[in-house]
Symmetry: C2
Subunit: 332 residues, 2 copies
């Protein structure tokens, strides 16, 4: 196994987020589950929902893309694989990820549908409720994978969201093969409880087969994955199957279990939660970068907490400050 | 003259801003004038500059559009006239302005060029340096004016930026005729020193002809308009030709002269200037809404200062908070 040229290469949805404020009554009225992500299947449905949104702001998103953007801002070397369409939002996504210093060469898809959009309603408590039109993103073919890029990354990072559509799921399975054949590690984020309700069997099988080295989950996702209401039992169960387990718990902080040892970290203090979009993605960025730098688990968790605190202090899931400097300052 | 159904109708550029951080060295290296606006004439030139930008965020912009968005958020009734192309950024602009509660019916322009984009580089001091590709916006034809809308607005608001391209200039002159024939008032913002260097004679003629009722300028623009280095002399000279003159002076606050009486207001205190984009536009929004509500000049200036302080506390030139509630709270 040769030295890896990249710290992390991610396969994920290539999405532009459209973020607007909304009140709780709107979330209820539209039948959305607050804090969750639901798919919007047709462009017409997406347009109809967009017409009900307040004035927005557009920021590149996509869960795994946010994570590699965070790692790149921390100083890590990253690549991204995800598919956009030949349109203005696709140009915005490609620009932003490349401008973050990330290698991004996935061919643009011609014709309909458009680049993926995520309509994000942010309530006064800062919670985000997401409605994703997957567009071109859901047709990422296995043929679009850059095999050399994956084989040359220390970690392949995958998002559970992309497990839903068939073609990317096949591509991600192929990606896992490439990474493992090259002796690399695979990290996986469960993304959302709805992903687990649809694909929990797949996720549990990946773990049982020893294909996941680092698993990211929030508390609810972990409970759903382990089919229990007992948090400690869930942690023990999942930790028995993955070398590294990271569980984020919002204001309760986060825990990690690595090779049997459990470590906890408190949430970073923050003046005001503006928008929680990307909190988990940036937590993963901080943690993975800490691990890539050879930091211990406690420090890696703290780095995750610092990055998550930055991202929820403003709208959008891409960092607005120099995370490298911020982490250096906070770690002292 | 009938009661006006609208408080303010604006004619302006229909632009989506792309905002990214940059350091001062970049501004110098690219030969830009910090704090200014320059036009980017070809799509290729715009793409080349975009490729040099850091990761961005997109927020609807356009000077006069920002002003009516502010007034609408304050509770005023507004309309907007400006032209986008049939593309995704055009959809974003149209969505955002309508979602602010503003009447916007200008027909979409087919074919090239694209919707206008403004590439905004924000330096660590919060100053913004703008590079505008005017796209479809610069071809706003007189035929696109909604004459009834203009005739039914208490104030027609025009931006100096749009004086540059020929077709919109003709449209704005027609707009002034419609407004004055209907017995309405005309407000004009000088926009940028470069506009005055190119069209100062036109602006001075409009004033001399008594066609401007309310003139907005910052300090440098006023000095350029009046061809002097003496601020008080410039104020006296301009105030002699317009019933209401409003001059913003950044951290030095603002002054207004109405019917010969001069009033000053301090700048609103603010924790951190993030991005000055839209400061003047939102100052105008607060002032005009105060005047529409029958407030005195001092209170109208204070409302302008409050709105400007909100907009420079975050990226983008569209309000992120309920300005109506903010102003009510600050005025006590």
């Amino acid at each position: 196994m040769t030295e890896a040229a990249y710290d992390v290469v991610a396969i994920g949805n290539a999405i532009v987020d459209i973020l607007a404020q909304a009140d709780d009554a709107f979330i209820v009225q539209e039948g959305m589950t607050k804090g969750s992500m639901q798919l919007v299947f047709s462009p017409e449905e997406a347009d109809a929902l967009y017409a009900k949104m307040g004035p927005g702001r557009e920021v590149s998103g996509g869960s795994a893309a946010n994570t590699v953007a965070g790692i790149a801002t921390l100083g890590g070397k990253c690549g991204f694989i995800g598919q956009v369409a030949d349109d203005q939002l696709g140009q915005v996504f490609a620009h932003d990820i490349r401008a973050s210093g990330i290698r991004y060469d996935t061919p643009v898809r011609s014709g309909a549908p458009t680049t993926a959009r995520c309509l994000i309603f942010v309530t006064p408590d800062g919670q985000r409720t997401m409605n994703t039109f997957l567009g071109a993103s859901q047709f990422l073919p296995e043929a679009a994978l850059d095999r050399d890029l994956i084989a040359n990354a220390a970690i392949l990072y995958l998002e559970g969201y992309l497990w839903d559509p068939e073609e990317p799921r096949r591509a991600m399975r192929a990606g896992i093969d490439i990474a493992r054949t090259a002796g690399r590690r695979v990290a996986f984020t469960l993304s959302d409880v709805f992903c687990i309700s649809r694909h929990g069997d797949d996720f549990r099988a990946l773990m049982a087969d020893g294909l996941i080295d680092i698993l990211f989950a929030n508390e609810n996702e972990l409970l759903a994955l382990c089919r229990t209401d007992d948090f400690d039992a869930a942690v023990a169960s999942a930790a028995a199957q993955v070398p590294t387990l990271v569980v984020t718990r919002s204001e309760k902080g986060a825990i990690a279990v690595q090779d049997g040892a459990r470590v906890e970290v408190a949430a970073e203090p923050i003046d005001r939660v503006v928008d929680t979009t990307g909190a988990g993605d940036l937590f993963a960025a901080g943690f993975l970068h800490g691990q890539a730098q050879g930091r211990d688990v406690a420090t890696s968790l703290r780095m995750g907490a610092i990055c998550a605190a930055e991202i929820i202090s403003h709208y959008g899931a891409r960092p607005e400050v120099d995370l490298k400097a911020l982490v250096a300052q906070k770690l002292g």
